[in-house]
């Protein structure tokens, strides 16, 4: 008897330990379907968490489509990548995912094509440049969700103190302005250069674009160590980092720090995106927005960033997903999301509404930037791996441009060969 009890106890133990792995969404007997939605959290505190937004969308959607329930799971940006990875690895794949990148999932043939899960009107409504950025080899898989673009922010009060009247238009003017600020306003970081793991890939690209460089050539091959890129970093090294016109260790300074410093009036210039507007207002900083300075003049096209929506094939809920996405992309919902987080729209109707309704004067300089935005090589299925490498070591290129960029290029080529 004891042996039997022992075996029983062990079995129960094993069952309890493994029970958590067996959760399976999908259709139940009465034809009800539960869609699993995983989304990133755009809020910075509990009160404006995206959970509330998605729960509300899910509730209204289910009210309109009683047979389809939506299970909402909102994950913060730091964890979402690794958690989604774990979900895919363990076979617990979401039906709909809203996060930062999509192309690596295309490489593994996990996603529905955009035209399979979006109705014609919804698809037409997406702004062209973004829809294009969602393509892998000519087929759209990534559905843009929100966007933002970079612009040059400067602190007008600090500029006045240093006797600078105009925002710098090129690198030399930026350096001159930084020198004046360093001399006349001590204790302030003249230019914030965040090349830490959080944003190395963005800030690097902005500077490389300023010198006519970039991450890929016209054919889409990686050119991380192109001459123009090495030159851009060499310029940063000798003109900003060396003379102490920016942070002492840009490679470990994150964008978060740079933004917080700007909002606290501790830094005079930086490249920012729309969320900095609210931060600056909260910090009572009198800020100006200007085009990003390039080597010889302002950048013709700035860096655009989009976050993505994608639908996984695993659950097989194509019809239900289409209904849900059509609902989620209605003007009412996208407008609410964009206005809550001060983000830029990716749909024509919402863009029109936001430009016209006069509530978004602050965002105007950004609306004009959107059509000309340059993107990361998002449609490249190796981009996520390459981007991870750039985040990790790209910032140290300000110490030794040729060596660091050369090593990154090698890793990128290995990633391409390894596909």
């Amino acid at each position: 008897m004891n042996k039997r009890m022992f075996v029983a106890a062990c079995t129960i133990g094993v069952l309890t330990l493994t029970a958590c792995g067996g959760k399976d969404g999908g259709a139940s007997a009465n034809g009800e379907v539960t869609l699993k939605l995983v989304a990133a959290d755009y809020g910075d505190k509990a009160s404006n968490s995206s959970t509330a937004y998605w729960n509300d969308v899910a509730q209204r959607f289910t009210a309109a489509n009683p047979k389809i329930k939506v299970d909402v799971q909102v994950i913060n940006w730091n964890d979402i990548d690794s958690q989604v990875k774990t979900m895919i690895q363990s076979g617990n794949v979401p039906d709909v995912l809203q996060t930062g990148g999509y192309a690596d999932k295309v490489a593994d043939d996990l996603l529905y094509k955009a035209d399979e899960v979006l109705s014609e009107p919804t698809r037409k409504n997406l702004i062209d440049s973004f829809a294009k950025a969602g393509e892998v080899d000519g087929t759209q898989y990534g559905i843009p969700f929100v966007s933002s673009a970079r612009a040059f922010f400067y602190n007008k009060t600090l500029f006045a103190k240093a006797g600078i009247t105009e925002a710098p238009r090129n690198w030399d003017e930026l350096k001159a302005a930084a020198q004046k600020i360093k001399a006349k306003v001590p204790g302030v970081t003249p230019y914030a250069l965040p090349l830490g793991p959080e944003e190395a890939q963005g800030e690097s690209l902005i500077w490389e674009l300023g010198n006519g460089g970039g991450y890929t050539d016209a054919k889409g091959g990686y050119t991380l160590d192109a001459k123009a890129n090495v030159e851009a970093f060499s310029w940063l090294k000798t003109n900003l980092v060396g003379p102490g016109l920016t942070y002492a260790n840009p490679a470990t300074t994150d964008r978060k720090t740079a933004f917080a410093d700007f909002a606290a009036g501790k830094t005079a210039m930086l490249n920012g995106h729309p969320s900095l507007i609210q931060m600056s207002k909260d910090g009572k900083v009198d800020y100006g927005v200007a085009p990003i300075p390039g080597k010889s003049g302002p950048l013709a096209s700035t860096l655009g960033v989009a976050d993505w929506m994608m639908a996984f094939k695993d659950g097989g809920h194509k019809e239900e997903v289409r209904k849900f996405l059509d609902f989620a992309y209605s003007k009412e919902n996208t407008l609410k999301f964009d206005e809550t987080y001060n983000l830029m729209p990716v749909t024509e109707d919402t863009l029109k509404e936001m430009t016209a309704n006069g509530k978004h004067k602050d965002l105007e300089p950004f609306f004009t930037l959107l059509p000309n935005a340059v993107f990361y090589p998002l449609g490249d299925t190796t981009w996520d791996a390459v981007s991870a490498e750039i985040k990790k070591s790209g910032g140290t290129a300000v110490n030794d441009p040729a060596k660091v960029l050369g090593e990154l290029q090698k890793k990128a080529e290995a990633a391409v060969a390894d596909q």
Binding site: M1, K3, C10, V14, P197, T253
Partner: protein
Amino acid sequence: MSTTSSATRPGRKGPGGLARLGPLPWIGPATLLIVLVVLWPVYEMVRTSFLKISSSGFVRGSAGTDKYKQLFEDPALPSVVVSTVMWTIVVVTTTMVISLALAQLFNQRFPGRRVTRWALIAPWAASLVMTAIGFKWMLNQTSGVLNTVMKDLGLIDGPKDWLGDPSTAWPWMMFVAVFVSLPFTTYTLLAGLQTIPTEVYEAAKVDGTNTWQTYLRITLPLLRPALLVGMVINLINVFNSFPIIWSMTRGGPDSDTATTTVFMYQLKNADIGQSAAMSVVNFALVVVMVVLFLKAARWNQEENR
């Protein structure tokens, strides 16, 4: 069931089934636990290191030994290994030396001993991550209190970005690691000190040894078991130490402040397979280190006999 078992062993009297199982019912649960929480993860870890897993988490099949090749060809690996060795040696040695002194101090009778003994537990009781983040903010360039204090004391000219530069980040992280390792080590040694019988000291006194001789010839040798336990546990702990470095620098810039454990975590972002390969190497290193250390320690013991 018991009838069948007694039938197969007719010659035996007394309890049936249970006795036949021998010690299994007693060690069974523990063995099962070890299999579930130790052996199975180790198996999974080794298996993953031979897999090709895409950055989206999708398993694309076997990678053979490619992940190990990639790992050993990684230009960052040599400096990471050297840093790990330095980190372990410096932190463990410093901790042991300071703890020996502290244990000796706390073994004396003095007013307020109880309160100071409690106070020593504080860094142990606090979560590692909490302590590390606390120090990270105290060292912050723009608002860190330690920067202000050092500036006011005239130790530095202006606030420094201590954690941004590997040459200053390492000493600070080692300081924090020693700080959090002290309580456990000190208490282990203190417990060891209290097991040394007073008669031995009395005998030594009668023989006319001076304080230093007593310490070297009596206290230290009799403290060996405690010393050994403290050392081995610290070696493993410090070698595997992740929260301190991850909270303070995330191993950056690049991998310049990473130990192998942190490096493993950094690799995870780009390639889980390679990261698993690093874990396997790490695991092997810990095992080798501990075996070597135990061997060396026992060899000493025998020589002394």
